[in-house]
Amino acid sequence: MTETPLLRVRNLSVRFGALAAVDGVSFDLWSGEVVALVGESGSGKTTLLRSIHGFIPPTAGSILYRSDRFGEVELTHLDEPRRRLLARTEWGFVHQNPRDGLRLSHSAGANVGERLMGAGARHWGTIRAQALAWLDRVEIDPGRIDDLPRTFSGGMQQRLQIARVLVTKPRLVLMDEPTGGLDVSVQARLLDLLRRLVAELGLSVILVTHDLGVARLLAQRILVMQRGRVVEAGLTDQVLDDPQHPYSQLLVSSVLVA
């Protein structure tokens, strides 16, 4: 076990005018760990995720990241070339809507291959073979490698987005409601897939979800967010089975049990 966390978020705030969307959030993410950010819409969990990735600049606070290439870097001060290099090699971002993470007018194979080409791969046969292997891994018929993703179902598109993100073997994957818009049966398949890939690749994941079942299945730890703040943090089973904060208790008691 390594001695320093992969990611250290300290007193992070994101303000939009008078609104504090994220308000003084601190947490650590360790290598190989899945942490779920839960809370209802508007609690700031997606804003927190997006500001860690650099889509939204934080107003205050710091994010220390232990990079393979650059050693420990402060993400809020990192220059753009290095941040973008990290974003397309060491990190991955899985959007809730796969259309935001895919090139819809390019083939499935090109979507998976793009990250490889972006990282410098220039051997067509190797790129093709990796794309085929990844389609198979995310349970998409490799025969559809040259089809456009807009001919795919929502579940297939999401699995394609995951293949596209994971093909460069990132260490840190940020997921924003990855099962959000999917039917329940499709969701189960995707969750199982994510669970296996996370374990096989030893990924560190920050997972935004409002579905406590998804958090239970994938995460070792949970941060409960309300109005931009983390009101409770702990082991997944502790937070879900013995929630301490009134808001956590409200969330847990609101879940329908089938």
């Binding site: 070339p81 291959g113 080409m117 990282a119 220039r122 051997h123 040259d146």
Partner: protein, 281 residues
């Protein structure tokens, strides 16, 4: 008509100076697109106004001008631009590549090897090689600035996936001086190797898109490709019906209603002189 007199080469001196500054910057950063304030010319944008403004900015009284369109000196566009500069600059014009000091072109690089001191001026419809791949201009500029060219290969990847080889036949993207990916204007891929370490100066003007870029002499210009699918430009498997040439770029001409085809040199000057040297079919 005689009452109206134009400044030398049509544009005023201040405008020409501004374009020259953009050209110098473009030469200093090979392959990089430099914005410039594209002026109105006496023909519509999209008909070569970018090339004409560059020509107007660099032409001198001693220059000898050649204008080609699709390799030919005698098409409407080539003839009118040649006449235009004959009138507003009073320079000598020619159809012979080796005589010319300045060659404005659309879609071709002459077959006759260029020599030091010659200037090629290209009319460019679309200067941005990433334009079909990345819709945001702000983002394409960022991609150029950071040399993030992964998506450029996406297009080539798909071409090979679909056809088994790269079928892109013109406007084939190149990497200039190991740094910027550049659109060589819609010249055939066949002409791309002529840019590599060429002794001439190559200036590119996009009038509608308001961009200028350049390749200085003896600069590396490498066509993008994959290790296992190297750059192999397409050429018709035929000989010129007029001069018999097999190593030049040929135009395909349908000559009757039954679809009979004939191939002839696209470079009319080259073809005529080959025939004059007594090497007809």
């Amino acid at each position: 008509m005689n009452a109206i007199s134009y400044n030398f080469a049509y544009l005023d001196e201040q405008t020409k100076r501004e374009i020259r500054r953009a050209l110098l910057k473009a030469l200093a950063i090979p392959g990089h697109q430099v914005p410039f304030a594209s002026r109105e010319m006496p023909l519509a944008r999209g008909w070569g106004t970018g090339g004409m403004q560059v020509t107007a900015a660099v032409i001198g009284r001693d220059d000898v001008l050649k204008v080609i369109d699709q390799g030919a000196d005698d098409t409407t566009n080539a003839v009118s631009i040649r006449q235009f500069f004959g009138r507003v600059a009073g320079v000598r014009t020619t159809t012979r590549t080796e005589e010319a000091t300045l060659i404005q072109t659309r879609h071709r690089i002459p077959e006759t090897p260029l020599r030091p001191g010659q200037i090629m001026v290209y009319q460019v419809p679309q200067p941005e090689p990433l334009w079909r791949l990345e819709p945001s201009r702000a983002e394409t500029r960022r991609l150029h600035a950071l040399a993030e060219y992964g998506i450029m290969h996406v297009k080539l990847y798909e071409d090979i996936a679909r056809h088994g080889r790269i079928t892109l036949a013109y406007d084939y993207p190149v990497l200039v001086h190991g740094r910027y990916v550049m659109s060589p204007s819609p010249i055939p891929a066949f002409d791309n190797p002529k840019l590599h370490r060429s002794p001439a100066i190559h200036l590119f003007g996009a009038g509608r898109e308001k961009r200028i870029y350049a390749v200085p002499p003896y600069t590396d210009v490498v066509s993008l490709a994959f290790e296992d699918h190297p750059f192999r430009p397409w050429k018709a498997e035929a000989a010129c019906a007029l001069c018999g040439s097999t190593d030049t770029y040929l135009d395909e001409i349908v000559i009757d209603d039954r679809g009979t085809r004939r191939y002839v040199c696209s470079d009319t000057d080259w073809c005529e002189r080959r025939r004059a040297q007594g090497r007809p079919v």
